[in-house]
Symmetry: C2
Subunit: 354 residues, 2 copies
């Protein structure tokens, strides 16, 4: 017995879902098609769709149609954004890009940071799991080159249907999508740039506990292999999160890896700026004595007497794409949200033609 | 038209393979079963099997039956063994264990080493691929915590049907089996041992470019998390292949990660021995001032005035199992050849009860 005319529509859709011919994320037949099929009014079809939306089975998207949404997840208009740092370097611009897009789409942003510490990552995610009040998470991985101790929390989030999107890099242990630079390609490009300026003996200063450090190592190495350099690893000075901002990092035995080089590929503008300060304190000039190229093209590259030639991080643009892709992922768990950027070297004043 | 009686048998087996009901690695029906089925003599069945062995379609294994072997591979009685180092530390014993088992089984051993350099790994494997004269490869991965640049060579070996077995660790990018320590569990055990002796502030010296370093970090961290230690990463001093044997490693800013600790978990006996020498040169005594535990329990742990408490590497036993498992893999590509060892702490004289 049918109580209302529109139940022709709701029954039809539910049976198709039960039979598996309509699956999570699938588009349902159009209003026109159903109007014709059942000889009912357009209004009846709409009422049927509305009832299924209220039941949380369908979701309609302006301009693109109505879709099955079976995933659980927490119904909320809040998005959690978790970055390693918040207040300096490239982070304010990334966060601004995310925030602008989220607010445009009617979402609010809940911001936390991890200081690139596994323990804070655990706290933040445990809290999100307990409160069940965000629709999705934009997350910057913590020390992604080391084994992650919080994988079971990501698994719980997946089980609860809370979409996660990584920014800047990703954990190799998961298949969670990411929006980042193509770090291998960018490092290859930066190293090729130094080669094109006549440099042969090229060192690198890279971060060992973030995945970007490993991928940038792979790109740097590929460029040097092509030049016939036998052991690129011998010219790499590695540092980790705990060394950041520690000036004594350069008064170290590992600094010997830079001996004899004419150019250095730096992990980011921060370490490039510190290297330049250190070299200057030792009476060496950049780029006259040593050339430096780095990554991110942040404000740090543009300040000081030596402006740094750097490969731009898309900052606000990356934030915008991350926010858009997470929203698409909330609407459709099948959406392929991964995107990697490649940008062009921004020439400033730190590389000499030799 | 059949030329010989035994072709009843060869035709029957070949048809079953063509139809897919006998697959690579499957056991074929027994001599008895075929004798009854076709009313032929046992001798006829055997001649049929022999003919198929000569064609390279079947392989018989003493005591276990006759199996389909369709895989390609290079027919040879030589096994390539490729380690990072050959002539010192734990390597002679591992290699002896491999060699003893291989020669017992009628295989000869072709030995090369990589010096833990990607470039030598590439040379050695390229050579093996070109010569096509080994039946399988026992390989110690190179700098397995960094992205590997030679993965396409492993892919070529797989396509050509040459089985590879890793020892000591593995590449996360491949699913090649490995025979190794369970590094996470062993490091956890070593750290728990220090905790059981009353130590609270425990540092670690770990290798950043080998996979074992990352897994041992995970085990060390797990033990400290259980004690409520918040940021174990802050107490870890990382080094890499290029630092090995460099005494100035300890005259480094990163040595500050050890400040205030009462015990140190060391990556292996080599770095533990160097640490003890360094501490003694600074007037500090082991274990009176600082306790030290390490991995491998090699001869280095047993020499000198301070004997080192260490977690034994199964050396010859690991070599033996690796050789046996590779031979099984040559006979049956489906064999699950992975094996991880766990051993018990060997108490010597470098840990103090506090």
């Amino acid at each position: 017995m049918q109580n209302s005319k529109y139940e022709i529509i709701t029954d039809y859709i539910k049976k198709k879902i039960a039979a598996g011919s309509l699956k999570d994320g699938d588009k349902v037949p159009s209003e026109n098609a159903l109007t014709n099929k059942f000889s009912v009014s357009r209004d009846t079809v709409r009422r049927g769709f509305k009832a299924l939306e209220l039941e949380g089975i369908l979701v309609s998207k302006r301009g693109s149609g109505t879709f099955v949404r079976l995933r659980k997840g927490f119904s909320s208009d809040r998005i959690a954004v978790v970055t390693t740092y918040v207040e300096n370097y490239i982070f304010p611009k990334i966060i601004k890009g995310i925030e602008a897009t989220l607010s445009q789409r009617g979402y609010s942003m809940q911001l936390s940071f991890t200081d690139n510490q596994f323990e804070k990552e655990r706290e933040v995610l445990t809290d999100i799991l307990a409160k069940e009040d965000v629709a999705g998470i934009i997350m910057e991985p913590v020390k992604s080159a080391l084994p992650n101790p919080n994988l079971e929390i990501y698994e719980s989030l997946r089980e609860k249907g809370v979409p996660v999107l990584f920014i800047n890099t990703y954990y190799r242990e998961t298949d969670i999508p990411h929006v980042s630079l193509n770090d291998e390609a960018m490092a290859y490009m930066a190293t090729k740039y130094l080669i094109s300026k006549g440099h042969k003996r090229i060192s690198a200063i890279l971060k060992m506990d973030d995945g970007q450090g490993h991928l940038r190592f792979a790109g740097y190495r590929r460029a040097l292999y092509e030049q016939g350099v036998k052991n690129p690893s011998d010219y790499v000075m590695w540092y980790d999160t705990g060394d950041e901002g520690r000036y004594d990092m350069f008064d170290s035995h590992s600094m010997k890896r830079l001996n004899g080089c004419t150019a250095v590929f730096c992990y980011n503008d921060k370490v490039a700026r510190e290297l330049i300060n250190y070299l200057q304190s030792k009476g060496q000039k950049v780029p006259e004595d040593v050339s430096v190229i780095s990554m991110d093209d942040s404000d740090l590259a543009k300040l000081g007497d030596v402006k740094i030639t750097s490969c731009p991080h898309p900052m606000a643009e990356l934030g915008r794409v991350a926010a858009e892709n997470l929203i698409k992922l909330i609407d459709n768990p099948k959406f392929d949200a991964t995107k990697e950027f490649v940008t062009e070297v921004k020439e400033r004043g730190s590389v000499k033609n030799i």
